[in-house]
């Protein structure tokens, strides 16, 4: 058998889906209560606590998103309980 029929995992990392979006979420760090809701609802799994552990003035490690993969669906903004995410037109 010459042709390989198996596929390696992680191929979705190669497909940078950030270019698909029209809107981009704006994470307002000072409002963030670090409730993890955005991380749970994000279909791409790219909402995460700040990777350097940065805190806002309420002492919470605020959340960020990965712009390389964010498709701009707005589910995070719609679900954020404290309205700390706003969708804005992405100027490309």
């Amino acid at each position: 058998m010459k042709r390989k029929l198996t596929v390696k995992p992680n191929s979705s990392r190669e497909n940078k889906t950030g270019g698909w979006r029209t809107f981009k979420p704006d994470f307002i760090h000072e409002k963030c209560i670090a409730c993890n809701t955005c991380a749970l609802v994000c279909p791409e799994g790219i909402c995460k606590p700040n990777k350097d552990g940065k805190k806002n003035k309420n002492g919470k490690i605020y959340y960020d998103f990965d712009p390389e993969y964010c498709k701009g669906c707005g589910i995070c903004a719609a679900n954020c309980p404290v309205k700390a995410i706003e969708m804005k037109l992405d100027k490309k």
Binding site: T17, G19, W20, T22, F23, K71, C73, L89, K92
Partner: protein
């Protein structure tokens, strides 16, 4: 026979746009055919759709390789998809972009400058429809630039697909784009 190739991303109504052109052309008295080239349908994934327009019955079923018209609904597809594959010298191109022609093509233009028509369809769609669904704006621009189909026929075609408020807004978007330039 004229062949139109549409490029866009899932969710932008690329397939619907191809169908609306075919319906409009049929209403103008032509034979027409529209079909998608589906990948596995996902919102955001690059997709293509095709329309053929002819005075005679269309029997050909293959995909479109040498389009007379290109409709590009998303300028982020440049560099991702070979959009200009198979274009002829006289191929006309409608692009949705907020940029100018020389900003889109940093190098040499693939076709003469007059062959391009750029419309900021996303902005128009957001203004009129409140959503970045741009296909009807693109149709208005295409009708204007190609002179191929009547704007009235597009409106009639829209009536077959939509109703109520959505229909009115789409008609408004089509007319707005048609009257540009």
């Amino acid at each position: 026979m004229l062949e139109i190739r549409l490029h866009g991303r899932g969710g932008q109504g690329v397939v619907t746009a191809a169908e609306l052109i075919a319906i409009a052309a049929f209403k103008d008295g032509f034979e027409s055919q529209a079909f998608p080239n589906f990948g596995v349908e996902r919102r955001g994934a690059p997709i293509q759709a095709y329309t053929r327009i002819s005075k005679e019955k269309i029997r050909l079923r293959s995909q479109i390789y040498e389009p007379d018209f290109l409709i590009i609904q998303d300028d982020t597809l440049f560099g991702v998809v070979d959009l200009f594959k198979g274009v002829k010298k006289e191929t006309k191109v409608v692009i949705n972009s907020s940029k100018k022609l020389n900003e889109i093509f940093s190098n040499k233009l693939p076709l003469k400058k007059e062959n391009f028509f750029i419309v900021d369809a996303t902005k128009i769609a957001l203004d009129i429809l409140g959503k970045p669904i741009i296909n009807t704006v693109m149709l208005g621009a295409f009708a204007q630039f190609s002179g191929l189909i009547k704007v009235k026929s597009i409106k009639d075609a829209l009536r077959e697909k939509f109703s109520g408020e959505i229909l009115n807004k789409n008609i408004q978007a089509t007319e707005y784009a048609f009257n540009l330039k």
